[in-house]
Symmetry: C2
Subunit: 316 residues, 2 copies
């Protein structure tokens, strides 16, 4: 299977009844400030509070009956873990979630709430991968990687199909990039459905491996990431880089200060809760890294899962 | 003019092009917790971030040309002041806003941002009323009271017309009560359009003058109000009490603790920003002051203007 529009459309048919058709919101005030027309695709309202519900659901429901019956596994501790647990529960199969023993309680509870079986491991990458391999060996479960998986990528691409169904004449679309699962799907859907569209990825300056890889035309990995946008601390994946290289026009980086200002501006003006990782797209506009003037701009808001006890503008 | 459905429909025709048709949102998770179907009418997404845009716009556009040309005035410092400033600007007339000299800067900026002319006064009720009278005497402006005004009440009632247009078969509707401008309009619209509906007002226990007035069938005023729900610290108005007495089925009171828990639950689950005054309706469900089980329940979310630097769950 290749990641193409047909795969994304098949994903959409497969998952449609399990996910929300999320709204596209606009704000006259933010339009006036930008001098263009901004269309926010709100997957902060998606099931599990993030776009991850799309890819995980597609990956789970794409499995054949026999493979599915042995369950699925992953070693994410964030939104993908919750999304995979939910999708497995919907299909009536087990989800094995390997999480570091120091995971935040709120994340543990989210996974448990969706019925995921948690296996704790030491908080380092080797332990996570070894534990995950062991679980897969013991159970026969299928690994559903959070982004290096074409069914996941195709599922994430459904967000762009919906956005273009609602707003067909976009000049550009802004999309966050972490591992690149979302960006891959969005870029393929966008460029296939509307070849004239500019696809611009936005990344925190403190985790700018994708921007560096894109510029150097060679996949680089950074070991130390420093950003509040916790969903974007991941390094760009291998199959994802291949798609990004071919389908994305530009990757811009934004500062922590702009991410926080963008998050706050969207909460205050649009009255919606978005997480820091979702704020990077509007941060690019605040920083004038893209030029929205006179343009119709899509912005992918990826999620709304925030710890309300630790907001970035609150002094501790 | 009487406050009736015809007045509310006329208000709707008058203001429709100046306000948002706000969405009705639902949450599977909150439905499961409540055991009923909850329909949240989201005027936190309204212009100026609150339902107040409805009543103020109706009052301003209902004025005849000559009266309007002399401007409007009020002595609110909250959402009504912003809403009146915006409505006056839309009509091209001045809005004189009397505000106490110790008003929060964010409120001053909001009024200025919508073009209101601010007249500061000493921070006490006498100074506010004297200053307002003086301004009206000097300018010939029309006082637009935030709730003791039938055009304001009719404008606020449009929120219920929209809610019943979207969800026609509600069993009950929950509505906050402060001065009673919103509640008057909502109750008249609800009972006229759907006589079987139960209209339940919700009020903070720390500002329970409306509940006491309703119970004793006599309007009482409380001098000291103690609640985080700053929009509900006002005493119930005189014409408002007359409507409430005739059209409202019940007034329930909720604790500060429930208001904060309700606000937080809605932010976390629905990913929308609502102010404490809006949270009292869901607080009534959390406190089991109403029984939603098996029922279809409308909840009026009144606004989303919150100081993000002073959230109620943040320790200072």
């Amino acid at each position: 299977m290749a990641l193409d529009l047909a795969a994304i459309r098949a994903a959409h048919d497969r998952i449609r009844s399990y996910i929300h058709r999320t709204p596209v919101l606009t704000s006259e005030r933010l339009d006036n400030a930008a001098g263009g027309s901004l269309f926010f695709k709100c997957d902060n309202f998606q099931k599990v509070g993030a776009f991850k519900a799309r890819g995980a659901t597609n990956a789970v429901f794409a499995l054949d009956e026999k493979t599915a019956s042995r369950g699925v596994a992953t070693h994410s501790s964030g939104n993908h873990a919750a999304a995979l647990s939910r999708a497995a529960k919907l299909r009536g199969i087990p989800a094995h979630i390997v999480m570091p023993s120091n995971s935040a309680k709120v994340k543990v509870r989210a996974v448990e709430g969706y019925g995921g079986k948690i296996i704790f491991c030491e908080p380092n990458e080797r332990a996570r991968e070894e534990t995950c391999s062991r679980v897969i060996g013991e159970t026969g479960a299928t690994l559903i990687h959070p982004f290096e998986n074409e069914n996941v990528m195709a599922g994430q691409g459904t967000i762009m199909v919906e956005l273009l169904q609602d707003i067909s004449d976009l000049d550009m679309v802004l999309c966050p990039v972490g591992g690149g699962g979302l960006l891959s799907g969005v870029a393929v859907a966008a460029k296939t459905l509307r070849p004239s569209i500019r696809v611009i990825a936005t990344e925190p300056a403190g985790a700018a491996d994708a921007a560096e890889s894109f510029r150097g035309k060679k996949l680089v990995r950074l070991d130390h990431k420093n950003t509040i946008a916790d969903g974007l601390r991941t390094n760009l994946g291998v199959p994802n880089f291949a798609v990004v290289r071919d389908y994305v026009d530009e990757i811009v980086v934004v500062s922590e200060e702009s991410i926080i200002a963008a998050m706050r501006a969207i909460w205050e003006t649009m009255k919606i809760v978005i997480e820091p990782s979702a704020a990077v797209v509007y941060a690019a506009i605040l920083e004038k890294k893209v030029e929205p003037r006179g343009k119709r701009v899509g912005l992918i808001l990826t999620g709304g899962n925030v710890d309300l006890d630790a907001l970035p503008w609150t002094k501790n």
